[in-house]
Symmetry: C2
C-alpha cells in the first residue's frame, strides 16, 4: 500500500505516521461518552426492505446531540486533552457539523472553543455555532487556507487543535456509532457508512471488524466527490477541489494520513452514488420514515437503493450520519425529483 | 348542554343518541391493538422546552403504522365487526389518513375496503390508498356529498360503514394514543391534541381523565377552521365550509354527535392557532427534532408556542397526530416563514 507522506497532501498539523489500531481506543471513547452522547435509535421500514430487497437497519445519528455523529468524536477528543493545555481554549476549522459539535462539547466541558470559518459560510451555520457559544474567526478563502490560518492562530495563542477527522480520538469517538449499532442489531452482513474525510468510516470499520469480522464494510461517496474511492482503489491519497455535490459533509478534499490507511485496511470496498440518488434516498426517508436526514446522511442508503452493493437478501446496517439541514434550501432539491418517485404514506 | 340531533347536522348513518362513556372501550381497543399498532416514541427537546417555557413531551404518532394515529381507530373498529357482516367488504369515506389506515387494517385482517373519495383528491392520496389494496369509488363534489353517496352504496352493496371519527370503536382506538402516552410520561399537567372531527380528541380526553383527572385537556384547531371551538363554547354544533387551512386533517366541517358531547364533558378548553404558527411549529419540529410531521400534527404544539395555553413551568403532553405529507408541497410552505425563525441545528 502506497501512503503519501503528510507533507505531500498538505496537512500542516501532524507528522505522525500511520497509527496502529491500538491508538484508536473506541472502548475508552464509549466510556467517556456514556451519559453524554445519546444512544440513537435504529429505524426500519418494510417499504425500504422491499425497495432494497434486504433487511435494512438505519442507525439514526440525526438524533444525536447537535444533530450528527460529530458530537461523539468532538466530545471524546476534547475530554482527553490535558486540562493545562486547553485553558486558553481549543481551536478547530470547520463550517459544518464538527464546529457545532465541538462548540457544544466545549460548552459542556467548560472549555472555550474557537472556530476558523470562511467569511462566506452560510449564515445559518455561523448562527448555530455562535448559539453554542463558540468564538468564530472568519477568513477569506482567496487569501489563505483554513489549515494554514489555524496553524498560525494555534501557535500565536497557544491553542491545541482538534481537527474534524484526522485525529485518533476523533476517530475513536466516531467508532462508537458502530460499537453501539452492533449491540442494537446483531449479525449484520453489511455495514454501509458515508465518507467525507473518513473519520466516521474509519472508526466504524474498526468497530465493526472487531465485533464481526465477517461483516463487509462499505464506504459511500458522491460520484462528484470521489477522492476517497479513488484513493482506496489506487493506494495513494487522491484529491477533489470544490466538488459540486449536495452532500456537503462529503466535500472534504482528501482523506487524512490517519484515516486513509485505516480505510485501506479495514474497509472492504468503496462505491459512489449520483446526486439524483442522494436526493431521492433523502426524500424517501423524509416521506416514508418521517425523519429528517441531511444529504450526506442519505449517501449510504442511496448506494443500497442504487444496487451499488450486492446485498440482496442480506442484513444491512446503514449509518445515517446527521440531520442538519436548512429545510428551505433542501426543499428546493426535492423539486428536481420526478413525480411518483415516492409517495406520501408511511413505511407500513 | 344543547346537543343538536344528528339529522340537523347531516349525519346520515346514525340515529344513536349521545353515548355513555362505557361504550367507548379503550381497554378493549388496547388489547386488540397489542401487537398490531406501534408503541410510538415520545420525543423531547431542550430547545422546545426553552421556547415554550415548559417541559414538553411529543407523542409521535407520525411513527404509527400508515403514518398517523388513524390506524388505531380503524383497526379496532374493523376488528370488532362481526365477520358475517363484512364478507363483502367495509366502506368508508375519506381522502386522507383514515382511508389509508382502514385500507391497511383491511389488508391485515383480510377484509376488502371500499373508499369513497372525491374525484379531485390529490393523486398522492389516491395512490397511497390504492397501494394498500383498497377499491376507490370516485364522486363529484358538485353532484353529491360523500355521506349520501356512501349511504347509497352501503345499502345497495350491503356494506357496513366505518366513518372517520363519529364511531365509538374508532374513538376508543384513538384513545389508546393517550392511554399509552400516560404510561410513558407520568404526571402531565396538560394534554394538548388537535381537533378535526374530534375522534382523537374525545378518545384522548377520556383516556386522560381516567388516568389523571387533574391533567387539563386542551383541544386545538386552526383559527380558519374553528367549528369545534365555537361548538365547545356555544354548546351547539357549529360548522365550517371548505376552510382555508394547511392543516388538512382539521378541515372537517363539524364535530360528530358522538364526539361533541364527549368533548363538552371531558375537554377543559379549546383554542385556535394561526396558519403562520402552524407552519412555524412544523418547521421547528422538522429542523430541530429531525422528524417529519404534517401540518395537522403541528397544531397542538403551535398552541403551546403561541402561548395560547398558560402552561409556564408545567409538564405538557402534546399529541403529534401524523406525518403524511407531500414534501414537495409542504416545502413551499416554509418559504412563507421569515428568516431566522429557526436555525439548522439539533435540539441540544
Amino acid at each position: 500500500m502506497q501512503l503519501k507522506k503528510p507533507e505531500q497532501i498538505g496537512h500542516p498539523f501532524s507528522s505522525e505516521t500511520a497509527p496502529v489500531e491500538s491508538s484508536i481506543d473506541i472502548e475508552h471513547a464509549a466510556r467517556v461518552l456514556d451519559g453524554h452522547s445519546r444512544l440513537t435509535p435504529v429505524h426500519t421500514s418494510s417499504y425500504l426492505n422491499h425497495v432494497c430487497d434486504a433487511d435494512v437497519f438505519l442507525k439514526c445519528e440525526n438524533f444525536q446531540r447537535t444533530g450528527s455523529f460529530k458530537f461523539r468524536g468532538a466530545f471524546h477528543a476534547l475530554s482527553r486533552l490535558p486540562s493545562n493545555t486547553c485553558k486558553n481554549g481549543v481551536l478547530t476549522y470547520s463550517s459544518g457539523n464538527h464546529a457545532q459539535a465541538l462548540s457544544h462539547a466545549g460548552a459542556i466541558l467548560g472549555i472555550p472553543i474557537i472556530v476558523v470559518m470562511p467569511v462566506d459560510a452560510p449564515v445559518i451555520k455561523k448562527q448555530a455555532t455562535e448559539e453554542y457559544g463558540a468564538e468564530i474567526i472568519f477568513y477569506d478563502k482567496s487569501e489563505t487556507t483554513r489549515e494554514i490560518l489555524a496553524a498560525e492562530i494555534s501557535t500565536k495563542r497557544g491553542l491545541p487543535v482538534i481537527p474534524p477527522y484526522n485525529h485518533v480520538d476523533v476517530i475513536a469517538g466516531q467508532g462508537t456509532v458502530c460499537k453501539e449499532f452492533h449491540t442494537q442489531i446483531e449479525e449484520l452482513d453489511y455495514l454501509l457508512a458515508p465518507c467525507g474525510g473518513g473519520g466516521l468510516l474509519s472508526g466504524c470499520a474498526i468497530a465493526t471488524k472487531h465485533v464481526n469480522p465477517d461483516c463487509r464494510v462499505i464506504g459511500v461517496e458522491p460520484a462528484a466527490a470521489d477522492d476517497a474511492t479513488r484513493s482506496f482503489h489506487s493506494g495513494t491519497i487522491q484529491t477533489v477541489h470544490n466538488p459540486d455535490t449536495v452532500a456537503d459533509g462529503a466535500r472534504t478534499p482528501y482523506l487524512g494520513h490517519i484515516t486513509f490507511p485505516i480505510i485501506r485496511q479495514y474497509v472492504d470496498d468503496m462505491v459512489t452514488v449520483s446526486e439524483a440518488s442522494i436526493i431521492s434516498a433523502m426524500a424517501i426517508v423524509w416521506e416514508r420514515l418521517k425523519i429528517v436526514i441531511e444529504p450526506t446522511g442519505a449517501l449510504a442508503l442511496a448506494a443500497l437503493i442504487e444496487k451499488k452493493v450486492a446485498a440482496s437478501g442480506a442484513r444491512v446496517g446503514v449509518v445515517v450520519s446527521g440531520g442538519n439541514v436548512d429545510i428551505r434550501a433542501v426543499s428546493s432539491l426535492f423539486e428536481r425529483l420526478p413525480n411518483g418517485d415516492f409517495s406520501a404514506r408511511s413505511s407500513q
